[in-house]
């Protein structure tokens, strides 16, 4: 087993966000994830401060680390200067680097995010682009979005966008040289290698689960991880 605690401690967010926890619970008290999932940010800090690698490994392979919404409300309140939300980020990074994320239902979802947000960042230079927000995958966007989507160019132009245009402005086409630069940034800083790892470990998992995994968002595995919720995430309300 890799030296997990020390690996985590290499992450600047752990050095910044892990002090001595006194288990007071101010973080769990106002954590939105704790309200709806079987989750307590307090436990995360408590487990990390044990430095016990077997507990940390279990955490990295669990759904637990994927419930947080990173609102960072916990950071405001901690009387000891801990930052559970930052620790979650470090745990998620490590879980992906080691391939542990595919061991949990919520962790496996990283592939779906990589294939949408990740792809769009490199393709459009922004995390989202309207033509990609399919009303079918986002029914809650309502009839208004359906209408916008159908008339995307007309609506965006009416609202003052420079839709796919050159020069500055809303939803402009990002110049190719700029896209090249951000690709290079992703390459030298480990962004691309993170993406590759997500793909590689997911592929292994899909095979293990007997599912087909292509490269888009339409194959069985991606559809499965994108839509299926086992419902085992809120202990209090089960059965």
């Amino acid at each position: 087993m890799p030296d997990l605690y020390n690996k985590l401690f290499e992450d600047v967010r752990v050095r910044e966000g892990l002090k001595a926890c006194l288990n007071c619970g101010t973080c769990t008290a106002i954590c939105p994830a704790a309200e709806f999932y079987d989750y307590q940010p307090r436990r995360i800090v408590d487990i990390l401060q044990t430095k016990d690698d077997s507990q940390i490994e279990a955490l990295l392979k669990s759904d637990t680390i994927w419930y947080c919404g990173e609102c960072m409300s916990c950071v405001t309140r901690c009387p000891r200067g801990n930052a559970p939300g930052k620790l979650i980020q470090a745990l998620r990074s490590l879980s992906q680097d080691l391939g542990y994320f595919t061991e949990s239902e919520k962790g496996r979802q990283q592939l779906a995010i990589k294939r949408t947000i990740g792809k769009w960042i490199l393709e459009y230079g922004y995390c989202l682009f309207p033509s990609e927000i399919l009303p079918g995958l986002h029914p809650e966007q309502g009839p208004i979005w359906e209408w916008e989507y159908q008339h995307i160019e007309a609506v965006m132009t009416r609202l003052g966008a420079n839709y796919k245009g050159t020069g500055p402005g809303i939803l402009r086409k990002i110049p190719d040289e700029a896209l090249d630069e951000i690709y290079k940034i992703f390459e030298v800083t480990g962004g691309i290698s993170r993406f590759d790892k997500i793909e590689e470990f997911s592929k292994k998992k899909a095979r293990e689960m007997g599912m087909d995994m292509e490269s888009g968002t339409n194959d069985d595995y991606v559809k499965f991880i994108y839509t299926v919720n086992s419902g085992n995430h809120t202990k209090k309300n089960e059965d």
Partner: protein, 360 residues
């Protein structure tokens, strides 16, 4: 409630906001869902306030959504941020301003990290140089666009045509203010008014004649949660959070919700629709929902801009009842037209949430 207590806290969190010469970076979410808001922001700064604000066409996302959905490593995001700073430096600017709250939080986090761990700044500089050949200076001032509107709220009020007053009753409009989590929860001193009682939106509402509602779930996140919304299987979390807020604010009978984050207004708007479809429940007056506005849209209304130039037509919760209350004229026929005034069809009505005002 003793307002003096809050005023004392506001005095403790006075934030430095630059006065002019801004380097502006756009928001992924705001461009998609509230493009009119970004347009309005620039219009107010340039035409009303005669400020110099510059946008470089080569700037990109800061990667914040990817960072907080954890597919983008911190090193990558720091270098993406550094690239934006490089574009600012090359253009001769020092005051950095962002349209997005997640970005604002990320820029603040990166600068704090560099301050406390200088080796990370050096590493980022090396990465950026290797990838792009660029170098940069750190900004002397970082503000969110809502900070700037806050700073000039009095000027906007002076030039304004409308006030947040119900013209029928003469009473101030009751406004819920919702602050994006990453505005000041991580670094209270970086937000106007701090983290517990942020003043950035309250200051605008006060100045423009409205009354702020302090309701129990005021500080609760809208529920976006990055991965919690982007993956359909997790969206139950996201909608449940927003519902909690609606239930908490409902007894106070708000006339509108004002937001400073790009994501929150989209969710608070769309989840009202989704809740109505899933449970038949609507909030607000007569089944029309509670209108949700961005601060740019509200500033635009105060200044008397045409509601359809502001982009109020792309809200799922209809905005007309609010316009009626304030007494702002609008042309219902023009709501869904294209730029040349031609008909391009209309959105369907939701099942429960009223969408088209009855008299139309």
């Amino acid at each position: 409630m003793k307002i003096e207590g809050k005023q004392r806290i506001w005095m403790d969190y006075q934030k430095e906001i630059a006065d002019d010469h801004f380097f502006y970076v756009r928001s992924c979410v705001r461009q998609n869902f509230f493009p009119g808001s970004e347009k309005t922001f620039l219009r107010i700064l340039q035409s009303e306030l005669q400020k110099d604000i510059y946008e470089n066409p080569s700037h990109t996302t800061c990667s914040g959504i990817g960072y907080h959905a954890d597919i983008v490593p911190f090193e990558t995001s720091m270098t993406m941020v550094a690239r934006q700073f490089a574009l600012m430096t090359e253009a001769g600017y020092e005051n950095f301003t962002t349209s997005c709250i997640t970005s604002f939080g990320l820029y603040s986090e990166v600068l704090e990290t560099w301050h406390h761990f200088p080796e990370t700044e050096q590493k980022t500089r090396d990465f950026l140089y290797k990838a792009t050949g660029r170098t940069f200076k750190k900004p002397s001032n970082v503000s969110h666009a809502s900070d700037i509107i806050f700073k000039f709220r009095k000027k906007i009020s002076e030039k304004g045509k409308y006030r947040l007053i119900n013209r029928q009753t003469g009473q101030p409009l009751r406004v819920v203010e919702h602050i994006g989590c990453h505005y000041s929860k991580m670094f209270p001193s970086k937000g106007v008014g701090g983290a517990e009682y942020p003043y950035v939106l309250t200051g605008m509402i006060d100045e423009w004649g409205g009354e702020v509602i302090d309701y129990p779930e005021r500080r609760h996140c809208c529920g976006f949660g990055f991965r919690q919304y982007f993956v359909q299987a997790n969206r139950g979390f996201s909608i449940s959070c927003s519902k909690k807020k609606f239930e908490s604010m409902e007894p106070y009978k708000p006339d509108m919700i004002l937001t400073n984050c790009p994501g929150c207004p989209m969710f608070l708007d769309r989840w009202q629709y989704a809740i109505s479809e899933m449970e038949g429940k609507t909030y607000g007056d007569n089944g029309y929902g509670i209108p949700v506005l961005t601060y740019e849209e509200l500033a635009g209304l105060v200044l008397g801009y045409d509601p359809w130039d502001l982009g109020l037509q792309v809200h799922q919760v209809p905005i007309e009842p609010l316009l009626e209350k304030i007494g702002i004229p609008y042309d219902p026929e023009m709501k869904f037209r294209n730029i040349s005034g031609q008909d391009i069809g209309r959105p369907e009505s939701p099942s429960f949430l009223k969408f088209y005002p009855e008299k139309v």
